[in-house]
């Protein structure tokens, strides 16, 4: 019998120390404070219409929150993103898995995806309004379109490049072809699917704002655009900061859920 501990423990990954973690947090704090300082400095040198100070933007955020405009805008934008993104993922993931595994499906679907890759979501907004009306339908359709492509491309890439050796191992361990698909290929593709979903969510934020600026009377995109029209620059900045915070929060929740749902997978985030 060999001594497993002595022979091999040298190669185990070392945990990140709490020192390193708090060091990273410290650097983030320094960066944010520096940015706020530079911003304040720049704001004192220009007019508040051109660049409002962090303080006045903070005030704008408080005002917009108290009168309900901002929470309402956040809720409606989140709703559009989540619905569109969820539908996009639901359609894209199974389709991409099929395309990744079955050459015929890939050959049928890929030309369309390669073509529409170059058609930005916003280019379709006019048509979307024509088809789905001025209401929620058109905005959500645009988000679906956006996330569909990102999620499809990533998932398909993941499914086509899945390493063959685990599947081979499973076959010579007595697994059936169906078991290989469900118990090996699918779990092996999970990281690629999650990366696709995450990137898709990022793009959905961009699309919803563009859609809301052009054709909406609610939402954070509308709030920013509207503030610009009335030269309420502080409100525009309030909206912009809110967008960033919304994105960070959504991404954080997504990563948290992904790690909870797939605790044993090596996720690249």
């Amino acid at each position: 019998m060999i001594d497993a501990n002595k022979a091999n423990d040298l190669l185990l990954p070392r945990p990140v120390s709490t020192n390193q973690k708090s060091g990273r947090r410290g650097m983030t704090a320094v960066a944010v404070l520096t940015a706020l300082f530079v911003w304040t400095l720049a704001a004192t040198l220009t007019s508040p219409f051109f660049l409002p100070s962090p303080l006045s933007v903070g005030n704008a955020i408080v005002d917009l929150t108290v009168n309900g405009t901002l929470p309402n805008a956040v809720a409606i934008s989140y709703f559009r993103i989540l619905v569109g993104w969820a539908v996009g993922c639901t359609v894209a993931i199974p389709l991409a898995l099929f395309a990744g595994r079955i050459t015929l499906v890939r050959q049928l679907v890929e030309p369309f995806f390669n073509f529409f890759r170059f058609v930005p979501p916003i280019a379709l907004l006019g048509v979307a309004i024509l088809w789905f009306g001025i209401g929620e339908g058109s905005k959500i359709a645009i988000i679906i379109y956006t996330s569909l492509f990102t999620v499809f491309m990533n998932t398909m890439a993941g499914a086509t490049t899945v390493d063959e050796s685990p599947s081979r191992a499973a076959l010579c361990l007595g697994a059936t072809k169906r078991q290989v698909l469900w118990r090996v290929v699918l779990p092996a593709t999970v990281p690629a699917i999650l990366v696709g979903m995450r990137v898709g969510m990022g793009f959905s934020f961009m699309s919803v704002v563009a859609a809301e600026m052009i054709a909406a009377n609610e939402g954070v995109g509308f709030l920013i655009y509207n503030a610009r029209l009335f030269l309420k620059t502080a409100n525009a900045f309030a909206g912009i900061l809110t967008l960033g915070a919304m994105g960070l929060l959504a991404d954080y929740v997504f990563r948290l859920l992904a790690r909870k749902l797939f605790p044993k997978h090596a996720l690249p985030f």
Binding site: I2, A4, N5, N8, L12, R168, A169, C172, T176, K264
Partner: protein, 264 residues
């Protein structure tokens, strides 16, 4: 003695339908591996050792000739032929060590009471009992290869196919693993085909060593009997003599004696 594995006139031509891109990996391979024998395939890199193993495993079908297991032609991978892969990517990296080892019996619908005790036995056999709840990425290279071995053994295959399983390990761990494999083989006496490009490793492990010719169109050039008593010792005169004979045979194939990868 009956042949566990018999290959006759086996040809393997990798082709994508265009003649200029086809590659003839194997041609005219004849090989008999006896029941219960430890057989090593030795040859220079790119000589088609892995292709030969993949044919026996049933991952690919030959473009010519026959591969028979106990008189039955190989048509597909089978639980009776367990494969230990060179790369640890063959592990299911989203499953714990324990779940990897019990994967085969679980997929085959073996009752839990039976596979549980078998998997536990194998985890102890390869010294991974204390690490059974870890994930492959938390293990060292040597431990990962032991998971692969335990996973295959938990399935009780008649034939064990090992494709340079220790090539990626450091010299010390490799030595430890070679002892382990000999010990396991002594205990279970299964037919083993072990692919390696390491001459010392082949002498240490094998009953017989088959040297392959250089590709394209590789075949078995010569078979050497290893008549050294077990347990073996490395620096004996017989060991070194055989090492030199094998080394010459391989050099003659590789055609450049200065570029040998092996050292004793």
């Amino acid at each position: 003695m009956s042949s566990a594995i018999r290959m006759r006139g086996v040809e393997m031509n990798f082709s994508d339908g265009h003649d200029e891109n086809s590659y003839l990996a194997l041609k005219g391979v004849d090989l008999d591996v006896n029941e219960g024998e430890f057989f090593c395939l030795l040859g220079p890199s790119g000589c088609g050792k892995t292709s030969l193993l993949n044919l026996i495993a049933g991952f690919v079908t030959p473009t010519g000739g026959r591969v028979d297991i106990r008189g039955q032609p190989v048509t597909r991978p089978d639980k009776n032929r367990g494969v230990v892969f060179q790369s640890d990517r063959a592990l299911f990296d989203w499953l714990t060590v324990d779940e990897n080892v019990s994967f085969g019996p679980r997929m085959r619908g073996v009752p839990e009471t039976i596979w549980r005790s078998e998997a536990d036995e194998m985890l102890r056999l390869v010294g991974l009992w204390d690490h059974r709840h870890k994930l492959p990425r938390e293990l060292s290279g040597g431990m990962k290869q032991r998971v692969q071995i335990a996973r295959v053994l938990a399935n009780s295959p008649d034939i064990l196919l090992m494709d340079e399983p220790f090539a990626a390990l450091d010299a010390y761990t490799r030595g430890v693993m070679q002892k382990e494999v000999t010990r396991i083989w002594d205990a279970a006496r299964r037919t083993v085909v072990f692919v390696t490009h390491d001459i010392a490793e082949a002498i240490w492990l094998a009953d017989r060593i088959g040297i392959m010719t250089r590709g394209p169109g590789s075949r078995i050039r010569e078979i050497f009997d290893v008549k050294l008593p077990r347990p073996r010792e490395r620096m004996t005169t017989d060991f070194i003599n055989l090492f030199n004979k094998l080394s010459e045979a391989i050099d003659a194939e590789a055609g450049h004696s200065s570029l040998r990868e092996e050292t004793i």
